[in-house]
Amino acid sequence: MSTQNAPDLTTPVPRGPLPILPPPRPARTVEITIDGKVVAVPEGSTLLQAARSVGIDTPTLCFLENLTPVNVCRICVVEVVGSRTLVPACSRTVEPGMVVKTDSERVRLSRRLVLELLASSVDVSTAPQFQEYMRRYDAKPERFGTPAPPAPTGERDASHPGHHHAPEPSHAAAVAQSVKIDNDLYVRDYGKCILCYKCVEACGTDAQNTFAIAVAGRGFDARISTEYNVPLTDSACVYCGNCIGVCPTGALMFRSEYEMRQAGTWDESKQTKTDTICPYCGVGCTLTLQVQDEKIVKVTSPLDQQVTHGHLCIKGRFGWEWVNQK
């Protein structure tokens, strides 16, 4: 690295008024047209931000405000006039004069297909937002056949990249498999995983920098995994639960929630949400306590909270068992 511009710290600061620094360049505004409306947004904004700024609701699955866009789910695709393919609104930035259509036939078809392809291969029963999108785009996943029964435990984790079994005419291939329960705090139900990469990002540089999980395998056999599928207890996991916080489908779930759902006692209509400050250290993270029948059943943190950006540590996320003891 060049040291040419490094400040010389040995010279004393000259007396008199300090040099005036040039003011920061004001962000320029870029004008584009979305669905016939002219929209002016700051340079560098994404098409998603631009659309949202005028109240156009663009569906997203792999996008979250507190994570780097990975643009893999492709449900946010929009049509940019002049572009050969559709473009992901979550990560494509505005360019002056762009003409964007967010509800054209092409856009609707791709969005519907994304939903159908996912719902025909993944259990989306605990993903209310996903189901709302299915209604909006009239998605009919059953067109692709009956999803295949759960794979024997470990089979999906032993896939061979570049190889697969010939399809079964009676079934649509699916990621169904048994739930991974290897610790007291949360479960991993990868039969519900849409592979949005959010948990990997939260475990990695976007939040926790722990890198306990990554995407392994390839193609339809790609999956979230620890190294060699070792249990979380043998992995680098620190149980911050930030992966659960960002999971859009309930594939990653508090063990408390999972067990209540299994027992049939999970009832969101009976739950209240109360914001408080975590009592453990001096950082001051906001906790949202989800309470049912006077018991804490789940803890989250608001995405727009300046201290946490939605992320917590093991204490804030899971250290409330003692409150429930009476």
């Binding site: 492709r74 994304v114 061979h160 990554a214 190294e227 060699y228």
Partner: protein, 596 residues
């Protein structure tokens, strides 16, 4: 980075394999870029990547083990599960399929046992996607791990030959010159040395005009070289046909450092043209890369060769070593103060890594997943720096442009497709191989050059451009083989695969193999491609066994909708073209009974 490891420890051999590569790591660069070379070293030494070996590699390269596992588990030629040291990869892709690959696999099942089995733990076999050895169809690559790792190519062998090679016995290797039926003919440009000049001798290369273009380029200066490449109207030969001069010019004013990457990850089924250059004229590629690096201001080049091309890799390694020792690579090339060097990366069995941004991720030691564009590699490429990435064939045109001048180059071919082109003929032709012809040659002329239709002698269909290309019929033989000519015919030139099928071939089997290929080779990142390629194969399979979900017509509607979503919404060219050959066949031929 504070990394956590399981208790698994490496063996002495595993440790030595990793340490052998670790010596290459430069203090000032990324360590992670050596992840793929390290994984190869372990695979080649042991035959698989054990938890202890992966832990050790991760520790040395400071990569989280979960991520290193994700990378190792991405590639078809690396194994994260224990497997025998000798593995035969039997190509059953389309070109080999019509030449008896399925029969060979059936014979292997009888002789050796089912795919993946091993009675004694020493050898096994797998079906493989296209090995790029289509003129030897059915082709087999036998890789044996050990202290002295070995690989053998087998041209249309019997099962017993495969078994013999798996047991370590050397089988006579096919001769390269048979890949170029035109060898020695006057008028060849790109192929003129292949099979004629010793590919290992730098002196022979120089004696046949080698490095004249480099001298000329240095005399011209970088700007003038780019001007000539622009004037030549050279477009990329990898399949996308992007103007090379425009790409080079795009990096000219960007900040340093910049990188030059040569894409030799040729994996499109039926494509063999780059292999023939890598094996037959390696110094020409080195010279071309130096000129490209000089013109674009890149001091470091990377050459990414597909893992199925061991001979190509050896030839290129030798050529680069020779050039380095003789002052054609390094800090002061030709004594003119030009600085450029080349590092080789070997792919590990992933078609997707031929996609330029996936290739960059692979070099960086990440999973070979494509990046969303923009930004383009010329803006944000390798290690986040401006990067020029060109295909092998694109680059080897450059010395000719430098010596002849751009305008003279542009006078060859047609207005929209300039220069000569390497065509890969396989399938039912009498003399399969790589042919050079000026753009504008018709499909009929190419088939004639290759000795006409073999097999039954009666042509049913021709696949142009590979699995990502399109089928045309016997009435389309006057298509001019140019980018614009194939486009006008509703096809694509792609990587210039020309694969005719005789009338005895069951096209349904070919389409199923193509669908299976894309399902295997999708990286899995984006939904339309990851699930779409699965659904595409399922629909074809149901049509094939006569068990449609609704009606055959309903299945075709579904197939087209999946195709459109993949084309419109996938991240990269793999998903965007995964349905094109299949849809083109359904549109032209009564494949599943109904009218096209």
């Amino acid at each position: 980075m504070d990394l956590h490891f399981t208790a698994d420890e490496p063996t002495a051999e595993e440790q030595a394999a990793v340490d052998g590569v670790a010596t290459l790591i430069r203090a000032d660069g990324s360590k992670r870029t050596y992840l793929l070379p390290v994984l190869h070293a372990i695979q080649n030494r042991i035959g698989w990547i054990s938890p202890g070996a992966l832990n050790y590699a991760s520790r040395v390269l400071a990569v989280p083990p979960a991520e290193a596992f994700g990378v190792a588990d991405f590639y078809g030629l690396l194994s994260t599960r224990k497997q025998p040291p000798a593995v035969a990869h039997i190509c059953d892709d389309i070109a080999c399929k019509v030449k008896g690959a399925d029969q060979l696999c059936a014979a292997m099942e009888k002789l050796h046992g089912p795919e993946g089995s091993s009675a004694d733990g020493k050898a096994t076999w797998y079906r493989s996607p296209c090995l790029g050895l289509c003129e030897y169809a059915p082709a087999v690559l036998v890789r044996t791990a050990g202290e002295k790792p070995n690989d053998q190519l087998l041209a249309s062998p019997k099962a017993i030959d495969v078994e013999t090679a798996m047991r370590g016995r050397q089988i006579p290797q096919p001769i390269l010159s048979s890949s170029v039926p035109q060898k020695g003919q006057p008028g060849l440009k790109l192929l003129r040395r292949v099979g004629q000049v010793n590919p290992e001798s730098l002196d022979d290369y120089r004696a046949t005009g080698g490095f004249q273009a480099l001298r000329r380029a240095i005399a011209m200066g970088p700007g003038e070289v780019i001007r000539e490449v622009m004037a030549s109207k050279l477009v990329g030969r990898g399949g996308a046909a992007f103007p090379a001069g425009q790409k080079w010019n795009a990096v000219r004013l960007t900040s340093l450092p910049r990188y030059l990457v040569c894409n030799a990850d040729e994996s499109e089924p039926g494509t063999t043209k780059d292999r023939v250059i890598l094996e037959g004229d390696p110094y020409a590629l080195v010279e071309s890369m130096i000129i490209a690096g000089y013109a674009t201001g890149c001091e470091q080049g990377y050459l990414y060769i597909r893992g199925e091309y061991p001979l190509s890799a050896r030839r290129m390694e030798h050529a680069i070593r020779e050039c380095r020792s003789r002052g054609f690579l390094g800090d002061n090339i030709l004594g003119d103060g030009v600085r450029f060097d080349i590092e080789i990366r070997i792919g590990a069995g992933a078609y997707i890594c031929g996609e330029e941004t996936a290739l960059l991720n692979s070099i960086e030691g990440n999973r070979g997943e494509p990046r969303n564009k923009p930004p383009f590699p010329t803006q944000v490429g390798l290690f986040g720096r401006p990067t020029v990435i060109n295909n092998v064939e694109t680059l080897i045109n450059v010395p000719h442009i430098v010596l002849e001048g751009g305008e003279a180059f542009a006078a060859i071919g047609t207005a929209g497709s300039t220069g000569t082109k390497l065509f890969c003929l396989s399938g039912h032709v009498a003399r399969p191989g790589v042919y050079e012809a000026p753009f504008g040659v018709t499909l009929r002329q190419l088939l004639d050059m290759a000795g006409g239709i073999a097999g039954s002698g009666k042509l049913q269909a021709v696949l142009i451009g590979g699995a990502a290309g399109a089928f045309v019929g016997p009435n389309d033989l006057d298509i001019p083989m140019t980018f614009e000519g194939t486009r006008a015919a509703g096809a694509t030139l792609g990587s210039a695969v020309v694969m005719p099928f005789d009338d005895a071939v069951d096209l349904r089997g070919i389409l199923l193999r193509i669908a299976s290929f894309f399902r295997d080779e999708s990286c899995g990142q984006c939904v339309p491609c990851r699930v779409g390629t699965v659904r595409q194969e399922e629909i074809l399979h149901r049509l094939h066994c006569g068990k449609p979900l609704s009606s055959p017509g309903g299945e075709v509607v579904l197939l087209k909708e999946v195709g459109q979503a993949m084309r419109d919404a996938s991240i990269c060219g793999l998903g965007q073209t995964a349905s094109s050959a299949i849809e083109s066949a359904l549109a032209r031929f009564p494949v599943f009974g109904g009218k096209p």
